[in-house]
């Protein structure tokens, strides 16, 4: 990136991400990600080890978070569930941000009918409430983790497309872009080297803000039986399994619920912090 002087705004502001909230969010996410990644070593039991004779044991020394209806260790499954949830979040964000940004930047830079076509398609997707569209897609496809990823990614990319299209449109009129064009730099090169890097800042903020949203949506889909299937460890699925036990066996639903809450919260805090840090108006302060 250092070869790109135009990327300066991004680079210049990055060290400013010392905002306490952003930092807290980042640390939290790092911890959650670490716990998920190291689940096979951290977890006290194999994730699908059942013990029907020890079903629904309250938290104790052997099972810190208790056991579920099949006698599986809830702590273990929360850790493994983190793998599923984070994997979904990362994949969805990567796929939808890449797709959305590429389409958006092309639309914004090209303008004219190219912009019209791309943005109208985007509008079609945005016309549906996101969760509703995801649910509809997940119903049609076979329920699985892959389905969840596809169903969410399809509803998520248009936001990035719209965001980066408006950024790209304003950047396309900047003098340095004009200059590049006058020098005969081909359009794809201009987009890749000038427009794209300079459109990324708001997308970055949006991605970090969306992490929580994706995890919540994925949990919602699994909760509705449209996502991860038994015996996969997934937070939404665990909440669904535990909800009717809440008054009698609170631990089954509480711990995965807290995991969802904590992760979504961490992403939001990070996103808010990033937005503040990267807000040009704030630099004046």
């Amino acid at each position: 990136m250092s070869a790109l002087p135009e990327a300066a705004p991004l680079r210049r502001t990055l060290p400013r991400v010392t905002d306490r909230f952003a930092l807290a969010g980042a640390v939290l996410i790092a911890l959650i990600a670490l716990a998920a990644l190291l689940a096979p070593w951290l977890a006290p039991h194999p994730p699908d080890e059942v013990d029907p004779f020890a079903a629904l044991r309250p938290p104790d020394a052997a099972h810190w978070f208790g056991t579920d209806a099949a006698g599986r260790d809830v702590l273990t499954r929360v850790l493994y569930g983190g793998r599923t949830s984070l994997f979904i979040a990362v994949t969805v964000l990567a796929v939808s941000a890449t797709t959305g940004v590429l389409l958006g930047v092309v639309a914004g830079y090209a303008g004219g009918w190219v912009r019209d076509v791309i943005m109208r398609i985007t509008d079609v997707f945005l016309a549906f409430p996101a969760l509703l569209l995801s649910v509809a897609l997940a119903v049609v496809l076979q329920p699985s983790v892959t389905t969840v990823i596809v169903a969410i990614a399809v509803t998520w990319w248009p936001w990035y497309a719209r965001l980066s299209a408006s950024m790209a449109a304003s950047i396309a009129t900047r003098p340095y872009v004009d200059a590049a064009r006058c020098l005969g730099v081909p359009a794809p090169m201009i987009i890749l080297r000038h427009v794209l890097p300079n459109s990324l800042t708001p997308v970055l903020v949006q991605v970090s803000l969306d992490g929580g949203g994706v995890i919540l949506t994925a949990a919602a889909l699994s909760y509705l039986g449209l996502g991860a299937q038994e015996p996969t460890a997934e937070w939404g699925l665990m909440v669904e399994q535990g909800q009717s036990l809440f008054t009698t066996n609170w631990w089954v639903v509480t711990f995965p619920g807290l995991a969802i809450l904590l992760t979504a919260f961490a992403f939001n805090v990070l996103g808010e912090g990033l937005r503040n840090a990267l807000d040009p108006r704030r630099i004046v302060k």
């Binding site: 699908d48 080890e49 059942v50 013990d51 029907p52 004779f53 079903a55 629904l56 209806a69 099949a70 006698g71 599986r72 076979q142 329920p143 509705l224 039986g225 299937q229 038994e230 015996p231 669904e240 399994q241 909800q243 009717s244 036990l245 809440f246 008054t247 009698t248 066996n249």
Partner: protein, 541 residues
Amino acid sequence: MRWHKRLLVAGIAGVVALAASACAGGQVRGAGGTPQPSTGGTQATQSTENDATFVYAPNLDVVTDWDPATSYSNEIIAMTSIYEGLTRYDAEAKEVRPRLATEWSSADEGKEWTFKLRQGVKFHTGATLDAEAAKKAIERTMKSGGGAAYIWSAVDKIETPDASTLKFTLKYAAPMDLITSSGYAAHIYDAEALEKNEDDVKNGKLDAGTGPYTIDSWQKGQETELTLKAFDDYWGGWRPEQYKKVAFRVTPEITTAWQLLQRGEVNFVQRLNPQLFEQAGMTEGVQAKQTPSFQNLLVLFNTAEGPTKDVRVRQALQHAIDYDGLVAALKGSAQKAGGLVPPGLLGHTTGMEPKQDLAKAQELLQDAGYGPDNAELKLTLTYAQGDEDQKLLVTLLTAALKKVNVTLEARAMAWNAQWDRGKKGDQDIFVMYWFPDYADPYSWFLNVFRSADEVSFNLSYLKDEAIDKAIDGLPQLTATDQLAADQAYADLQKKIIQDEAAVAVPYVQTYQRALTADVLGYVDNPAYPNVVSFYDLKPAS
């Protein structure tokens, strides 16, 4: 034809509001069977008039079909209070008791049945019950061919020698006294009025039964979907303390239903999970009731195609199920099954209780060319979405099979989707519940294991002439020689479960219900799943 009913059963323990799941629970009126007409000398004790409403909290919509001929779903919980059959089965005494018929007899080795009708019975439409009306109702039901109309398939003709006598001539011997006690398709109704007012009947504005209650209001989709009121001219008469009003308040969430019960806003919750049930037993103001049901879980193996075509693989699967663990984890809401027929029914066998044996399973798989030393075996399984009990089976079975290098791809599906897929033979293992339409084991065999060109419920796809022949002989034996019938059922179960390994039967469900403590007279009758005989109840005074 049974899909409504399966759907209704699909959800058992499930509480997913979204899925079209449901719960079967059930019970009914109790012993004694028949209400006694309130002749002059009623009770000596003075009771005050009961103007309370008895509130039943079902977990899914009550009525999908108001036609007593074709009704085959959850509305049984209301229909059996509005409509009555010729007889009623008493599950405690294991006997058929009089209802609209006062006595009956059979002749010609069970091929001829004569029923004497009760005198002075009025339909809610105002008409009087006589043999002609009963005949018309049964013939209309038979003609409809929908729902459980098949129960009448033995009937060749119905005659009415006089106004109070109904004579059935059968094509083959069948236990008509049991058949007329069915909770489905055996209702006697005013067929003429029903046909004349078809729209009103469809919209729940009118009914044509003889039962103690009649429709007060029906609002589809409302929380309090249905209310019933006493039918003043009921042949059994009314005592002051009986409940004159009944309401059905649809409460999908099991925990919500439990809270409503504790607050006294509902009187009856048809099924609690074992944990709440345990709590109910210790809660003041609540009575917890549990009764073994006639409903068991069937794990059907595909005998026609795929890896399970090999009987050794099927036997290995039977051995891989952790029967004891499953029952332990279900914590009292199920008891281990000893064959296809639940206890309390003709043909129930003992000594066939299965046990998990992974070593044996591995050995069998090895013989069939699978197991840990060979290539991984992948099997597909479908089960009911939202059903926690079935999910538990899947979880335990998946974990057990993993140890013998078998990967289970389990898919939770809505009943219709699961059934459609099953009809195409598109899975290795099909999980579902089964319960009889009347208190007789025949339907497990006729519907589930008799071969049929077009798959309906024979989802193990078993095709065996000897078994078919044995099944076809069952009604006749039941009607003529109970001991021989019992033996025939036992032999068939051995064949189907042990020799063919077409099915594993992990458990029979136990109904775990709760009522407010002030309700007296409640008896669960598993022959009528989830039904409460409101007429037999009274509040404690």
